[in-house]
Symmetry: C2
Subunit: 312 residues, 2 copies
């Protein structure tokens, strides 16, 4: 799957992931009302609104980008009905040829991580039958529990030819609270570098053609740390959240990439899916045209990144 | 809810949580076959088997223990159908007067943590209606993203009178890989102590009558660390996994408790729900009597803890 992701990035000339993180306030009133008119203002109505909204976005951008990243929390907040919309979204995106990165940030002790791994990336057995319950292509993983929390995901990836992105340095303001602490027995290097080195280590045994399928998450909001981590993990694909709404810009992202122009994929969520609400696009696009606004935002992001990477 | 949890612990004289972590191999063949005969060997069949198995356990132990801890991964591995069983289990346990700790180990950046928090502990709005999708009483939270990943959970807890347990030192063998690293700018104290201090800090503003509703997870498998953390976080309720099957014993757990005999609640999953498969109980209990075996295991655990705590 890492090879396919890289091929799709090159084919579409866009190291871009569209974050499918719909919240009720991003969804145009008429999409919501259409769903509520059938299901009422219920969790099922919310699930339907999210699904229809996502479908509109996906139809408008699938030819431009290699991948999408649904954030499961935005679905899980609506309970079972939200998760049904999550699953529908995964299946639809895959049917449109998109690579799906499930932003699930799971991580637990061994046997429990195994359960998450089979549920999201692998297959589970029921009697003599096997099922692939969520079936994302990649998943994000939290490393706080150490190797035996991450290894079960790697084992499933190996079997299923899928991949993970391990949280190394997250994009949020307080990510430094624990991730930046200097580690005394490692020349006071920050914890995120220790985690990064471990990701590189885990990845050595998990190589695709040119990159490992054990990737890393490093926030666009910390470009200097991105530069260091890029060097520490030369064969690691970096998933970069925090572009756009969270403050990251194309020019900040150059050092997340390798000299081959690859090695990173940049996520934008709100900046694309809610583009129609932003100052930049709201004059041109009405809420009804939210999907066209998303397409315009992807094209602009592609230009911004392309200019920064000098391959436009 | 922290006050209620403490009252229930005292009333039942049992600082015990039953971990509802059903896997297919813990469920007796006849429970599975009954479910499969209606739904086939499908995800729905698996969900039904899990739910019926849980119901048997809960009916057998609810009068003995204050709380249960369903591990969501064990349900999520069966996709939507598994999560329906998770929700049914929560509702049933609450109807039997049990406090429900959702072992979800979620944690993300601010707005995303908010979504998890409302989905699991709070209420979500759909139009003008509000819903409580999963509605656990407590949830476990991963701290790797720092304060702005945890604070949204605390905010919801404050509003809903619920609580969280933050992962500090987990019970698994490789938990030390990152959690034990010495922090250079904190006298080389290990990271888990830094996280523990922060949990104590978060909790100061979140006090119930005697304990904070921002609790901590510290594994039974690391009793010496439990002793230190107990002192670092005097008002923090500690959820202690790792008893029984993972190797922790009653005598190891004394120092997780305060002198008031409170301050900790010990989880056992496999040791209770799969007791009928263990050497200790399998002679006495057949698979059909798995629930009786679970009850016997709870009574024995209560004695073991009681003897260790000297209040038997």
């Amino acid at each position: 799957m890492i090879n396919r992701l890289l091929k799709e990035i090159q084919k579409k000339n866009a190291p871009i992931v569209v974050g499918l993180d719909p919240t009720m306030r991003f969804i145009p009133e008429e999409v919501k009302q259409a769903a509520f008119s059938v299901y009422g203002e219920t969790l099922q109505g919310a699930g339907e609104a999210i699904w229809q909204f996502n479908k509109g976005i996906v139809d408008a951008v699938y030819d431009l980008v290699p991948a999408v990243k649904p954030q499961i929390a935005m679905y899980e907040q609506f309970g079972i009905e939200g998760l049904i919309a999550y699953k529908k979204t995964i299946d639809y995106c895959k049917s449109k040829g998109l690579v799906v990165i499930g932003d699930i940030k799971r991580g637990d002790i061994g046997s429990t991580s195994s359960a998450y791994a089979v549920g999201h990336l692998g297959k589970v057995m029921v009697g003599k039958e096997t099922y692939a319950p969520f079936d994302e292509d990649f998943a994000t993983v939290n490393p706080y529990l150490g190797t035996d929390g991450v290894k079960p995901f790697i084992d499933v990836c190996k079997e299923e030819k899928k991949g993970i992105f391990v949280l190394v340095k997250t994009s949020n303001p307080s990510s430094g609270e624990f991730q930046d602490r200097p580690i005394a027995d490692a020349d006071s290097r920050p914890l995120y570098e220790i985690v990064g080195k471990q990701v590189d280590e885990w990845g050595k045994d998990c190589m695709g053609e040119s990159y490992s399928y054990v990737g890393a998450v490093v926030g666009a909001t910390y470009p200097e740390m991105g530069r260091v981590l890029r060097q520490l993990m030369p064969k690691t694909m970096i998933l970069v959240p925090g572009y756009g709404a969270q403050g990251g810009k194309g020019a900040d992202l150059v050092h997340f990439f390798n000299e081959d122009g690859l090695g990173a994929i940049v996520n934008s969520s709100r900046g694309i899916i809610a583009a129609y609400q932003s100052d930049k696009y709201k004059e041109t696009y009405s809420p009804a045209n939210y999907a066209d606004a998303a397409r315009a935002a992807v094209i602009d992001m592609k230009e911004d990144l392309g200019a920064a990477l000098g391959n436009n």
